[in-house]
């Protein structure tokens, strides 16, 4: 354990912010991280149950609520267990210790003689008649957390490390469970007419035609270029919004071409250029390089974004599937001219979230309308085309890798050069909401930024190889503008960078006349990484790998996410005939102490399928005023018939700190697919998505 307090505790020092024993013999645990489909709530509940010795069934968790739960920033970057989990552990251990110390004084015994069994206190294994519910006092809750109490040793864990089932799935297999299902008094449905782009001006809106199309009464809320259709009948407002597309005239919309959608577009753009790592050197040796790319890709959540807001007596209450209720509250208050105390944001479950999607925008949409129509609950739901067309997408990303080789064909100098737009434009990084740009007095355009290297970087994420190369550096060209709004999506730059670097390692191995696994291991001393590669190689039958060019391929790649979180190695077996067909995938991950191994395996497999879908199929297309891939036909994702068998293993390392693992299989999967396609065909396809057409283009050049 580090001796510095986690940020979550520093900003939420009182025990009562986190824990409360309720009269019905339950434990109320409040956290700032939220459920976005990753199963975090059960894992945090397990940690509290473990440290307090309370049955897991007694834990009720409240997650993401600016009125009643602590501020833990955003739920992102696989940080929930590392940061919130550590906080919950310290807080729980401290409350237990405080209470047992007081009880020991009362019973005139040593705290060491006391144990806890499902919340009841025992003295030398005999009941004391006391338990948390009878004994915890207001003074305990009011105490500041010192972080000085040593939590349990991992060897004593009974609940942590067990595959405890998630509680929230029960509602999700039986009906209402999501933000979309919330019903409030005086609720009105709303749909938006979206401003095509920042500088577009609405010059005409045929409201009469829109009202006719709606077929029943609707209200039209219009504030400059912000337009919403509101009414008690959801069907009517949906009809209005669809009809409005043909009855609105915009001027000054941006004009894009398909070339804006290619990663190569960034090469000529003005950029912030910087160097990270070793200074450039005139290292003697053969220089080889290759360029890889990934296009713009979408979160493409299953559900359209949704937000609810009600403005009553000067107080704004908002429900959102945001990743960060506190940052969203602050933004909404600032934009609407309300005090932060007057705004409450409560988290409600949405469809799976893989980064900064439309959730925050939809919440602000609802709040803007609610301010215009007080004393109603305004429920905004985006249309499918709106979701694809206006959510922030992940930037196209071009990675050039270059190596100076020694006589044995091993890199002595390595450069990863990246051209990309911003990988994070959350409002806390200076990004703007859609509604902000449509309302009067829009703020100046955001200056694109990226997370600092200490947080794993954005475009540079995983760009520094972990092999034992004598010199290595990243050159980062962060474009000053992007053709469409870009922001975070699972792994940020990790997937395109690991794809490039780990594919290039296979290219270099071939030049050196070495097996790709042996080549990697000859330059890798980290024992955790070596173990994973050897484990996956053994399981996938690497030793009996066949010749290149048979149409069947086996490829392997690994990475340590952000070069500091969980490690994963992935091997992919596939066939290429008309299409690329994934057959089997093997993975092994090392994430230190794993709180819930079943949830972790679910995340590993989910990351593999998501990454495979992105690598093989996904591309946001641009033309005209914006995004043209507006449905599942033009933005296809992996289907049941395309999903491979997946074998997952997790290294048992309970004494090592927990490492976030939601994104660790992402980059390795992409690179393993690239390497397997090479093995199958004998040609290197370097530009994602690795579609049939792309492969045919490369084959035609051979």
């Amino acid at each position: 354990m580090s001796d510095t307090l986690p940020l979550s505790i520093v900003t939420n020092r009182r025990l009562e912010k986190w824990l409360r024993f309720d009269p019905d013999r339950t434990l109320h645990l409040a956290v700032g991280k939220v459920e976005i489909g990753q199963g975090v709530l059960i894992a945090l509940s397990q940690i509290a149950a473990e440290e307090l010795d309370v049955d897991i069934g007694r834990v009720n968790i409240l997650a993401g609520d600016t009125a009643d739960a602590p501020d833990e920033g955003s739920t992102s970057s696989s940080q929930s267990i590392e940061v919130s989990g550590r906080s919950v552990r310290l807080v729980s251990a401290e409350l237990r210790s405080r209470v047992l110390t007081r009880l020991a004084q009362r019973l005139n015994c040593s705290p060491d003689e006391l144990t806890v069994e499902d919340g009841s206190f025992l003295l030398q294994s005999q009941p004391t008649g006391h338990d948390y519910w009878s004994f915890v006092s207001d003074a305990d809750y009011a105490a500041d957390i010192t972080g000085t109490v040593l939590p349990k040793a991992p060897s004593a864990y009974k609940v942590v490390g067990q595959p405890v089932p998630r509680k929230d799935l029960i509602a999700k297999v039986s009906g209402a469970a999501f933000i979309h299902d919330i019903v409030r008094p005086d609720m009105l449905h709303a749909r938006m007419l979206r401003q095509p782009s920042r500088d577009a001006q609405l010059v005409a809106l045929d409201e009469a035609a829109i009202r006719r199309a709606a077929k029943s009464d609707i209200r039209i809320v219009r504030l400059e270029n912000f337009v919403a259709f509101v009414g008690s009948d959801e069907t009517a407002v949906q009809r209005a919004a669809v009809a409005a597309l043909a009855h609105a005239k915009w001027e000054g919309s941006r004009v894009l071409t398909p070339a804006h959608g290619e990663a190569a577009w960034y090469v000529d753009q003005p950029a912030d250029d910087r160097l990270i790592g070793d200074p450039p050197a005139e290292t003697p040796g053969e220089v080889v390089s290759a360029v890889y790319s990934r296009p713009f890709v979408a979160h493409a959540a299953m559900a359209p974004s949704c937000g609810l807001a009600e403005f009553r007596d000067g107080r704004m209450e908002v429900w959102s599937h945001t990743q960060g209720v506190y940052p969203l509250r602050n933004s909404i208050a600032d934009i609407l001219g309300l005090s932060r105390e007057a705004v409450i944001v409560r988290h409600a479950h949405g469809a799976g979230c893989y980064g900064h999607n439309g959730a925050d925008d939809a919440a602000l949409d609802a709040a803007v309308i609610a301010q215009q129509l007080p004393d109603h609950c305004i429920r905004v739901q985006w249309r499918r085309e709106e979701e694809f067309g206006f959510e922030p997408v992940s930037t196209a990303h071009r990675t050039r890798v270059a190596a100076v080789l020694d006589a044995a064909g091993r890199p002595v100098d390595w450069t990863t050069e990246v051209w990309a737009g911003s990988h994070v434009q959350r409002p806390i990084y200076g990004g703007l909401f859609l509604a902000q740009e449509a309302l009067p007095n829009k703020p100046p355009p955001a200056k694109p930024g990226d997370p600092p290297e200490a947080n794993g970087g954005g475009g540079t994420r995983n760009g520094t190889p972990l092999y034992d190369f004598p010199a290595k550096r990243i050159v980062h060209h962060l474009a000053l503008r992007t053709p469409v709004r870009t922001s975070s999506l699972r792994g940020l730059g990790a997937l395109p960078n690991v794809f490039a670097m780990e594919c290039f390692m296979d290219e270099l191995a071939e030049r050196a006349g070495m097996d790709p696994v042996a080549y990697r291991l000859s330059m890798l001393t980290d024992p955790r990484a070596r173990y994973l590669i050897e484990n996956v190689a053994a399981r996938c039958g690497w030793a009996s790998r066949w010749a290149v060019g048979t149409g069947r391929g086996l490829g392997l790649a690994w990475a340590r996410y952000k070069n500091k979180a969980a490690y994963a190695c992935v091997a992919v077996e596939l066939e290429v005939d008309q299409e690329v067909r994934l057959k089997r995938v093997w993975t092994c991950a090392d994430a230190g102490l794993v709180i819930n191994p079943d949830g972790a395996k679910n995340q590993l497999a989910g990351g593999i399928i998501h990454a495979a879908s992105m690598t093989l199929k996904e591309q946001v297309t641009l033309d005209g005023a914006g995004i043209t891939s507006l449905d599942w036909a033009s933005y296809p994702i992996m289907t049941f018939s395309e999903v491979p068998e997946i074998s997952t293993e997790i290294v048992h390392a309970p004494d090592l700190p927990t490492l976030g693992m939601g994104e660790c299989t992402f980059g390795p999967t992409a690179a393993a697919i690239g390497n397997a396609i090479y093995h199958a065909l004998g040609v290197r396809v370097r530009d994602m998505p690795l579609t049939r057409e792309r492969i045919a283009q490369v084959l035609a050049k051979v």
Binding site: G37, K172, A303, D631, M638
Partner: protein, 158 residues
């Protein structure tokens, strides 16, 4: 106009324009909010319900075309408090991440098992290929449907 149909075994009447999407009637008129809007384009399967024994898209079916028919939604899957074997199997396998796709997938799977109690893996894949899952829970979902089929067959034998 008044439209009569059967929903989850109960006769219901609803006042609606016949062009109203079935999903809006289910969610907003009948307060059955487990049927999920995904795309409105018959592309994702989130809204799948069973109409006269066949899995169908509630987002694009107009209520007028469902008059007199029998509709089953996710709320009709359990028998009172007793979960359907599919729901039990999905929970046992923890077959989901965000869970938004699960209503539609469960209904597609139920329609399959109702007509084919012993589906092969390929049959299950074919039955679910109109349902998208973005989180990558597919392998668990396939295992859960197989498990439910087995449980239902054994239940009949017992």
């Amino acid at each position: 106009m008044t439209i009569a149909l059967s929903v989850n075994g109960r006769s219901v009447e609803t006042e609606a324009d016949p062009s109203t999407p079935l999903i809006d009637v289910l969610r907003n008129h009948l307060d059955l909010r487990g049927t999920r809007y995904g795309c409105g384009l018959e592309q994702c399967g989130s809204c799948m319900v069973i109409i006269d024994g066949k899995a169908d898209y509630a987002c694009s079916r107009e209520i007028g075309s469902v008059a007199g028919r029998s509709v089953t939604t996710i709320e009709g899957l359990a028998d009172g408090e007793a979960l359907h074997p599919l729901q039990v199997a999905f929970l046992e396998e923890q077959a989901g991440q965000c869970g938004y796709c699960l209503s539609g997938i469960l209904m597609s799977a139920k329609a399959l098992l109702d007509r084919n109690p012993s589906p092969s893996r390929a049959d299950i894949i074919a039955a679910l290929d109109g349902n998208l899952c973005r989180c990558g829970a597919h392998p668990r979902i396939l295992r859960a449907v197989e498990k439910a089929a087995t449980a239902m067959r054994e239940g009949v034998v017992a």
